[in-house]
């Protein structure tokens, strides 16, 4: 049913720290690797060894230069489904294939219902949906719904593949609906932002802005160095230091 649930018990999502992301692509290939054998398998690759290679991915990392009067900053930017609270990608779906789970808020596609009309990908402002031309259906980030509850995985491994992989610890996972949750606290403390809030999709995922050249930046308030002013200069100073 593509009507949105009035409310969801949980608001599961990701938080991505743009101050820490080095753009290593680990989350990208870890996602591809897990999901190409997972719930939406396969993540088909067309012309994999040729000049027009085009595959299905659920997570992609861009690189930007953010130029402000304070100077330039290179920012690596992972982009995946934000599991929005009021996403038109769901409501536009004519078949009910696209839906938002009432329990945890995860937005999924039921491949068996999908007719591949692509309307949901038009309705997603964030480009989080990718069409599998080989299968003829729409695919997207599942928030690793087949990991986070998976009894066949050790309890500690029940987190999204991208979160487990991230070498710099720039990715976080949890219930953003619960203000007491560790992830909500993190968003609070670091001033996490939603993307394109003006469109009213109410994304669940949050991004933590870069700190450099902000009041949050790591600083060392060091007094300028003063040349030694004892007679005999530096070498004289050494002798003095050693003799006491």
């Amino acid at each position: 049913m593509t009507c949105l649930p009035a409310r969801t018990e949980k608001k599961l999502g990701l938080v991505i720290d743009l101050d820490t992301c080095v753009g290593c692509q680990a989350c990208v290939t870890a996602c591809k690797e897990w999901n190409t054998g997972g719930h939406m398998a396969p993540l088909t690759d067309i012309d994999p060894y040729g000049g027009h290679v085009d595959g299905v991915w659920f997570n992609r990392v861009h690189t930007y230069e953010h130029m402000t009067e304070l100077g330039g900053r290179t920012v690596n930017f992972p982009r995946s489904c934000l599991h929005c609270e009021t996403p038109a990608c769901v409501t536009v779906c004519p078949t009910g294939a696209s839906y938002k789970r009432a329990s945890d808020g995860i937005v999924l596609v039921d491949e068996d219902k999908c007719i591949g009309c692509k309307l949901c990908s038009w309705a997603c402002p964030y480009g989080a949906r990718e069409f599998d031309t080989d299968v003829g259906v729409m695919k997207k980030c599942t928030l690793c719904v087949d990991r986070i509850y998976n009894d066949n995985l050790a309890e500690e491994d029940r987190v999204p593949a991208c979160v487990a992989a991230c070498p710099t610890s720039a990715r976080h996972f949890g219930d953003l609906g619960d203000p007491a949750s560790a992830i909500s606290q993190l968003v609070e403390e670091r001033g996490g932002v939603a993307l394109m809030p003006e469109l009213g999709y109410k994304p669940t995922n949050r991004y933590l802005p870069p700190r450099a050249r902000s009041q949050r930046a790591a600083k060392v308030d060091a007094p300028a160095l003063e040349p030694i002013k004892v007679e005999g200069g530096f070498l004289g100073w050494i002798d003095r230091m050693l003799s006491n």
Partner: protein, 976 residues
């Protein structure tokens, strides 16, 4: 629900599973608990040299999924972009299938498949002929592999000095710079104290071997809000997240660092106590210009370096813990003037030539910035000191109640080493660290065992007297302490094909693999018969001057015979180099073989304890391929090399696995340190343990020993550590390791240049030796810059490692190549404007050495005088299982085409290898270029273009669609 304490790197509260991870009953029929794997095999990744622990999930006999091993000391559960793509490497269409014998001309890629026995017979006959006549006519060079203790051992038993691994073109400047100074080094042999450092300086690093550890570490710094300062012409990756980015001009870090030293000295912000305890700062240096011992240490009868006791006013053994050595002054001993090393340091670096204002313009870094960084360093080092409440005892038996630390740490890699002034720049950085007292202290830079070792470490290179059927009297590679240790003949001519340890590269501790092809082709210093290579793409991205290199590989003499008579190569994939081999020995993938990551080689230790690891076959090869190490061992047996055969001539080792367990380098010391002894009870030293490998497998493929708290720091002078190091066989004696700020071995070469000593440089070399063999770090313009017309070639051209690609291998990977299959040339927007270039233009990138065509992308985050591109993306058509229209061979380009492999001719008309004159480190980043928009009809495709390689026998055209994973799902859903 009860929870075990979270393991692994990503275990912050905001990265853990849901408090209740039971599936809610959504009723949407989603299978939330599909079975993931039938079994999990724990082994060591080899998508790069970082050697992380991986859990390989096997489902229906195929690799379903690979993730990081949470218990592994290297990656603690995380995995990088390459590691997660291992599946696509393992199932790559470019995998070799069977031994190949060349049928067409070299470089055509025309082969016929042969059986292994024929392949081994061909190799054996060729090699035994060489060994019977002149063993040095075999040149054996290896690349990315991590079995150098085996390959080096094999070469030495064969009797050829012509062995080296890839270190010479990689980062020997960092290794040598460190080992000759502090007895340890950057690279992967040391690491910042990620948990305690408050100020981290990163010099010239895009990725490095410690791929995941550095990322994990940066994550920790960011979480703690510690300051990260990046010194790098390019603002990408690690450097993008720095709090402070210093876009320095390439090749000028030496100046920048010595200016920091100047500022710190001038302000007296240095750690005198540390200098006295752990360095040769107080050691007296003879000041007798013209004398044979000028600039050498003053020593007592037993050869101990002397210092001057301030109180006793007498010379004392500098190592005497009771001494009160002077750091300054000038003293008369036995009628000869001498001064402490520190006096020389002060005199040199206090000089105004090292003042920030003097270097600012050349470095492209504002003087204020240099002063600010110096002030910040001093502030953190001396005002934010940390003290761990742990008692420890130093080498002299002095007990310390706490461990004091200065939380400033540094890391540097190829941005420093890949310049021809890299050795001295690397030494300058170590000097800075030591003056601040931050080496192996809490919050500082820390050694990873088996380091530190005496600076420089013990063994000398062997290979002076090569005789038929005779092993070398040691290992081919080692550390020279003066001209007497060089591998040269009486006329000063190099004894090695790569000219390592000759006057052209005296401290070439890793050899010069990048000069082998040219020298072998030119027969300089002598012709060879067979070039055997392993795991290095020398016909492409690991050679400079690719176009000419290819010509040399295929060049014939008057008689129509190849100038390099025979080439044997082991690769696992259809790389560019395979096509140039006469005999190809196909290797397995990293999931199909045994490997050994050994303390004798490049271990997985971290600063808190030694470790080593193995690979073991987690899936069986579906092709007629064999692990090269096993092949090498069988060749050794067929050749009857000592230590590879029993008395009765039968093979000593069944295969590599057998060697790993049963080989002993010296009694009790073998490739693996864990679970030694009959019962597996001992570490480091111990008898052979028949089920050692099983113990490793049971432990997840690795062994790691955590230090006791009092062993963790000050390892250069920490008794508890030094004793342990002796037990483990890391160092011969439990003596302190003294940092050599002033390097006596280097001074000895200078003296030779001045005519002293028996081993003398050819006159043509004296000048070069005199200039570069400076016992104290100094800065000189990269060699190339003196040669080229900087007006004509105003720009520096660099490459960077893409974090998701490993050199040339990534392009055969269906997933990784989607991220980057065309590399752009990144140009500063302002530079582009002045050159009349626009985004996406196609340009000619031209150097002294030729030109290559590529497409530009304008950016802001780069030094304006610098252009750069991603390394090794460009490929040759026909290789790597790629289709002819692949971007890699049509739009991607290889910068190597325009990087000269030789310097321009000097005054004597001599051309040297394009390398650091001291270590022979390949100077990849010295190249100067100009860029100009290409003609309209030239746009859209790269040049130079090369002839397409033929497809080897039984190679299917690569698939048009890849549905990897569909099978798992079908099986899964059928089961439901």
């Amino acid at each position: 629900m009860s929870k075990a304490a979270p393991r692994g790197a990503n275990s912050a509260p905001s990265q853990r599973p849901l408090a209740d991870s039971r599936a809610p009953d959504e009723g949407d029929g989603v299978e939330t608990s599909p079975s993931v794997s039938d079994r999990i095999a724990k082994t060591t990744c080899y998508m790069c040299a970082c050697r992380c622990g991986i859990d390989v999930h096997i489902k229906d006999g195929k690799v379903r999924y690979i993730n990081g091993n949470k218990d592994h000391p290297v990656n603690r559960g995380v995995i990088c972009g390459k590691g997660s793509s291992g599946i696509m490497q393992h199932y790559s269409p470019a995998r070799l299938k069977k031994p190949l014998l060349r049928t067409g001309p070299r470089g055509s890629g025309e082969f016929r498949e042969i059986e292994w026995d024929e392949a081994l017979t061909i190799a054996t006959e060729r090699l035994s002929a060489i060994r019977r006549t002149d063993p040095k006519k075999l040149a054996f060079f290896t690349g990315r592999d991590q079995s150098q203790s085996l390959t080096g051992w094999w070469a030495s038993k064969f009797g050829t000095p012509n062995f080296a691994a890839h270190g010479g073109f990689c980062s020997v400047n960092m290794a040598a710079g460190g080992l000759y100074t502090i007895g340890g080094s950057f690279w992967e042999f040391g690491e910042p104290d990620w948990d305690n450092t408050r100020y981290f300086m990163l010099f010239g690093v895009a990725e490095d071997h410690d791929s995941n550890p550095i990322k994990i570490g940066l994550g920790k710094l960011k979480a703690r809000g510690a300051k990260v300062v990046s010194i790098n012409p390019c603002r990408t990756g690690y450097n993008a997240i720095a709090d402070d980015w210093i876009g320095i001009r390439p090749g000028t870090d030496g100046l920048f660092v010595l200016a920091l030293v100047h500022e710190l000295l001038k302000a007296g912000r240095i750690d005198l106590d540390y200098l006295l305890r752990y360095t040769n700062a107080p050691v007296l240096v003879v000041q007798a210009p013209g004398a044979a011992d000028d600039g050498l240490f003053v020593r007592d009868v037993d050869g101990h370096p002397l210092a001057w006791d301030r109180l006793a006013k007498t010379p004392v053994n500098a190592a005497d813990p009771e001494a009160k050595p002077a750091l300054t002054g000038s003293y008369e001993i036995g009628g000869r003037r001498c001064v402490p090393v520190f006096q020389l340091i002060a005199e040199r670096y206090l000089d105004e030539t090292y003042a920030p204002d003097a270097v600012a313009e050349r470095c492209g870094v504002a003087a204020e910035t240099i002063r600010r960084i110096a002030a910040e360093l001093a502030h953190v080092a001396f005002e934010q000191t940390i003290e761990l409440p742990i008692a420890w005892t130093d080498w002299a038996g002095r007990r310390h109640e706490t461990i004091k630390g200065r939380p400033v740490s540094m890391h540097a890699m190829r941005g420093i080493s890949a310049h021809s002034n890299g050795f001295h720049t690397c030494r300058a950085i170590h000097l800075l660290q030591v003056l601040l007292g931050t080496v192996d202290v809490p919050g500082g830079f820390r050694f990873k065992p088996p380091y530190p070792r005496p600076a420089p470490p013990g063994p000398k290179p062997c290979g002076k007297n090569v005789r038929p059927m005779t092993p070398l009297d040691g290992m081919p590679l080692g550390f020279v302490c003066g001209p007497d240790d060089l591998l040269v003949d009486e006329d000063g001519r190099p004894a090695r094909i790569d000219k390592a340890y000759s006057w052209e590269a005296p401290l070439a501790a890793h050899g010069l693999m990048h000069s082998v092809i040219r020298n072998a082709w030119a027969g300089d210093p002598y012709p060879i018969d067979t070039l055997m290579m392993y795991m290095s793409n020398m016909a492409w991205n690991s050679s400079m001057n690719t176009v000419e290199t290819i010509a040399m590989l295929t060049d014939k003499d008057g008689a129509g015979a190849y100038k390099i008579p025979f080439i044997i190569y082991s690769d696992a994939y259809y790389s560019e180099t395979v096509a140039f081999a006469d005999l190809v020995l196909p290797d397995t993938t990293y999931l199909e073989r045994h490997d050994c990551i050994s303390l004798l080689d490049r271990p997985i230790s971290h600063a808190d304890g030694p470790g080593d690891a193995i690979r073991h076959p987690v899936v069986q090869p579906d092709r007629d391929v064999r692990p090269f190490q096993s092949v090498l061992i069988e060749l050794g047996a067929r050749l009857g090399l000592p230590c590879f055969v029993e008395e009765d001539g039968s093979a000593k080792y069944r295969d590599y696995a057998d060697y790993i367990v049963n080989h002993e380098r010296t009694p009790g010391l073998g490739p693996l340190a864990g679970w030694r002894g009959k019962d597996g009870g001992s570490i480091g030293r111990g008898d052979v343990n028949p089920d050692q490998l099983q113990r490793y497998i049971d432990n997840g493929g690795f062994w790691h020993q955590d230090f006791s708290d009092d062993q963790r720091y000050y390892k250069m002078g920490n008794r508890a550590y030094l004793d342990f190091a002796v037990e483990m066989g890391f160092i011969p004696k439990a003596e302190p390791i003294v940092f050599q700020l002033y390097s006596e071995p280097i001074q000895r070469f200078r003296l030779a240049a001045r005519g002293h000593g028996t081993v003398q440089p050819p006159d043509a070399e004296r000048n070069r030796i005199e200039t570069y063999m400076d016992p104290l770090p100094f800065w000189y313009a990269p060699v190339e810059e003196d040669a080229v017309d900087l007006e004509r070639y105003p720009l520096h051209a660099l490459t960077q490692r893409p974090m998701h690609m490993y050199h040339s291998w990534g392009s055969q990977n269906a997933w990784l190549r989607q991220i980057t299959s065309q590399n752009r040339l990144f140009v500063h927007a302002d530079t582009a404007t002045t050159l009349g270039l626009a985004d996406d233009d196609w340009v000619w990138i031209e150097s002294l050495n030729g030109r290559v065509k590529g497409q530009i992308k304008l950016i802001d985050g780069v030094n304006p005088d610098t252009v750069w591109t991603w390394n090794a993306i460009g490929k040759r058509r026909g290789s790597w299982g790629l289709k002819d229209d692949a971007a890699e061979s049509n739009r991607g380009f290889l910068l190597n085409h325009i990087i000269g492999d030789q310097t321009s001719a000097d005054a004597n008309g001599k051309r040297y290898s394009n390398s650091d004159p001291i270590t022979g480190q390949a100077a990849w980043f010295d190249v100067r270029v100009r860029i100009a928009k290409c003609a309209a009809e030239e746009a859209g495709f790269t040049e130079p273009q090369f002839e397409r390689f033929a497809r080897p026998p039984h190679f299917e055209p690569s698939p048009d669609v890849l549905r990897f994973g569909a099978a798992f799902r079908m099986k899964r859903e059928a089961a439901e």
